[in-house]
Assembly symmetry: C2
Homo-oligomer: 211 residues x 2
């Protein structure tokens, strides 16, 4: 096994796309979600791989926003309306979802161009993805600026959730395997995870005999 | 297919553990990383499921820290030394890694109690996980407070990376399948992902014929 040993200067000296691909792979597997927004009659849908759990009480999720990219329409719509939707990306929509990252104009809806069915729920002011197994209506709680590189952590509270009931296990966790929710690595690789293990709440007095 | 429809008040009315399990499942699949720190001769290792990509130039990763939990030893060590390591969790260490979340005392090293081999690289002042396929030496750049719930986004810069060379693809992305890196869902479910698709950089002029 050859080991690649990189220092800061090696990383900074890489060709730009190569470096972007590498660094985008280093956090490990990422969540795959479609973010739906709407303002002045124009709806937008964007794939995000940075949705992260912030807390359960109140129920908060975060996502990283790069302000100067194609994703900015999402940010502008969230700022205008205070609302957005998070929709798990199921296997069947992987190709459609990937192409929401193309540079569409504001008046061009990704729902239409990428053939993803739109759904409205409970008069919530942002569109959901009809064929997503987990749909969340989010209210913007906080924009947290990250000074190191000018990105923003968008923190939202879950106001509404629509979930296929058969996915909810006895203890409240979701069976994401059954949902066919995918994971992402790097910038363009999509994966279907398969559960290999689940362990009880960890207590020092109950350590197993490790292999 | 039965649909579970939840509003804010339904979520807030749930039994605490059930709610925590559910909300922790809603972001989708999560990265699985072991965070190594050391201060005054005491080394600490903690499993985190919130490492997230922040940016490639400079190379930044973030992670969410709950200050009042068992993980606080990690935060204290990072504050004291300015350094920590991020190590991808490989399949073979899943059980060991899970139990680093038990409440060990400061003088009890998770490396020892959970039988995970420690490694030092380049005099970097934090310990690495020897059997991890992707090892990152991180320098603290920024602590970003999240006011909505008192958590903190810890942002660090990659100063050192040691990666099995055979994992690096031609375009710089890592083959995480080959690394046997795992993903997490909820609080205690571990998964092995399998790549199902990769797509080129998305251009509006090159949309495929969607199914």
């Amino acid at each position: 096994m050859e080991i690649k040993h990189l220092k800061s200067e090696d990383i900074m000296g890489m060709e730009k796309i190569f470096r972007s691909n590498l660094i985008n792979s280093l956090s490990g597997y990422k969540s795959a979600n479609l973010i739906g927004t709407e303002h002045e009659g124009y709806s937008n849908l964007a794939i995000f791989n940075s949705v992260v759990h912030i807390g359960a009480n109140p129920p908060l999720l975060g996502m990283i926003q790069r302000p100067h990219t194609v994703e900015r329409q999402t940010l502008e719509n969230i700022r205008s309306t205070g609302c957005y939707t998070i929709n798990h990306l199921p296997e069947q929509l992987v190709e459609n979802a990937h192409y929401t990252s193309a540079k569409f104009e504001r008046q061009e809806s990704e729902f239409e161009h990428c053939k993803i069915d739109k759904q409205y729920l409970d008069k919530f002011p942002a569109p959901f993805v009809k064929d997503s197994p987990v749909k969340l209506g989010m209210r913007l709680r906080e924009e947290v600026p990250i000074e190191s590189n000018g990105t923003i952590l968008i923190v939202g509270e879950i106001e509404l959730a629509e979930i296929d009931e058969s996915l909810i296990t006895e203890d409240g966790q979701l069976d994401l395997n059954r949902a066919h929710t995918v994971a992402i690595s790097g910038l363009n690789r999509y994966h279907l995870p398969k559960e290999i293990a689940a362990f009880p709440y960890a207590r020092k007095e109950e350590l197993p005999d490790f292999k």
